[in-house]
């Protein structure tokens, strides 16, 4: 019995690993670190930003994915505490961001995801999404998004 349950939660994790973040589809919601807990009867999600417009979309995508995998009985709950920070993004997620052309969150100056130069400057505090700011590389002159350290 216990073995079956462990398999169940493993299978649920697999389903969630395949759900992309709607704003940055190269990341899955598990890469982003917004799946807090998986139990036999429920999964617990947390929002990235208080006003993130993707929150409801993510919930319905998770619902659809769970239903499609036969987990109709699994409930979806959300929690605010402890608050999500960019530290919850997995190392794999950071690598995927970089490969996609988005600089991963850093407390220092981000390196250009195109050419690797550290001669970069901020153009705008807010970018194409609330979680990103807009930067420019002074070496290769390409603009890029930085996933803001949060």
């Amino acid at each position: 019995m216990a073995a079956v349950r462990a398999l169940d939660t493993d299978a649920i994790w697999d389903v969630l690993r395949a759900v992309p973040d709607p704003e940055i589809p190269v990341l899955s919601i598990t890469d982003l670190g917004i799946v807090r807990e998986v139990h036999e009867d429920r999964v617990i999600l947390t929002p990235t930003y208080t006003g993130c417009p993707a929150t409801l979309v993510i919930e319905s995508m998770v619902r659809e994915a769970l239903d499609a995998a036969g987990f109709e009985h699994i409930a979806i709950e959300t929690t605010l505490s402890p608050p999500w920070t960019t530290d919850w993004i997995t190392p794999e997620g950071r690598a995927k961001l970089h490969a996609y052309g988005i600089a991963a969150p850093t407390r220092g100056v981000p390196a250009c995801p195109q050419c690797g130069s550290e001669q970069t400057e901020e153009i705008s505090r807010f970018g194409s999404a609330p979680c990103k700011s807009l930067w420019r590389c002074r070496s290769c002159a390409e603009p890029f998004d930085l996933f803001k350290c949060h």
Partner: protein
């Protein structure tokens, strides 16, 4: 006529456990619920109204980056409002939802501070309002992370980092415009002048706030004021601006006495749900 059986000592022991709220339920503290409702409503209304104000800039800001920043701040604020108004609706316990509170109340029932409903004016006026509000909200939320209500504490802990960002961004604009051209400086002076008289209301300690503080729901506003004043002074100094002269404070928002501006804002914000009640996407 049959008489009731005599009361036995063991019955009295049971009766003592029964509370006036009903049977063996937890005691219903009506005063606590009322204060929680009022507090969550004020917090939610502040965020909602300022979020709506900033959203009015969408597509009209001086540049695309500025447009994005204003819309993103609006999103953060509306996100806060959703959480706070949900808490308020639950505390009220009358079956109203957060949407009901946002879209089906009229001016007199809104409890936001007067600062947030002030018109956008030009970009300098908007940034003056934003800085004076966010610097206050940041310090308030810092204190609210220790709120006796776990849900309010969780929202504050979540939102405080976003608000710190708002404060920083607005402070940078106050400095850039104040220390900019003759034109930008004159406009920032006018903007600060407009907003200045609404600062005292942020620190008003009325019965609700006194009661809420006694219940451990809110931090001491007087101690927040010290850090707030220091921060505002420092930013104005960096901008090369003098603080406007203190004016007669204008109060009343927390009791539903609003300026003429709020009704116009609500007319736009509430148009759709009032015209098509219960419409869904």
């Amino acid at each position: 006529m049959p008489s009731l059986p005599p009361i036995r000592p063991e019955d009295e022991a049971v009766a003592e456990k029964i509370r006036p709220g009903g049977a063996f339920d937890a005691p219903v503290d009506e005063a606590h619920g009322r204060i929680l409702f009022e507090l969550a409503l004020r917090l939610g209304d502040d965020s909602l109204i300022l979020g709506q104000r900033l959203a009015e800039w969408c597509g009209h800001a001086p540049g695309v980056e500025v447009d994005l920043s204003l819309a993103n701040m609006a999103l953060d604020l509306i996100g806060q409002a959703t959480h706070f108004l949900t808490i308020a609706a639950e505390a009220e316990g009358k079956g109203r939802s957060a949407d009901d509170l946002a879209f089906r109340r009229d001016v007199l029932d809104f409890k936001n501070c007067l600062l947030v409903e002030q018109p956008n004016g030009d970009f300098a006026q908007t940034m003056a309002r934003q800085f004076l509000f966010s610097a206050w909200q940041k310090r308030l939320f810092d204190g609210l992370t220790a709120c006796a209500d776990d849900r309010i504490a969780a929202v504050a802990a979540k939102a405080v980092k976003e608000v710190a960002y708002h404060e920083e961004l607005a402070a940078e604009w106050v400095i850039r415009l104040g220390d900019g051209t003759e034109e930008s400086r004159a406009r920032m002076i006018d903007g600060l002048d407009w907003m200045w008289r609404f600062i005292p209301e942020l620190f008003e300690t009325d019965e609700v706030m006194t009661d809420a503080a006694a219940r451990g729901l809110v931090p001491d506003l007087a101690s927040i004021r010290i850090g707030y004043d220091a921060r505002v002074r420092a930013v104005l100094a960096e901008a090369g601006l003098e603080a406007p002269a203190d004016q007669r404070p204008i109060l009343g928002g927390r009791r539903g006495h609003h300026s003429e501006h709020l009704g116009h804002l609500l007319a736009v914000m509430q148009y759709l749900p009032r015209t098509y009640p219960d419409a869904v996407w």
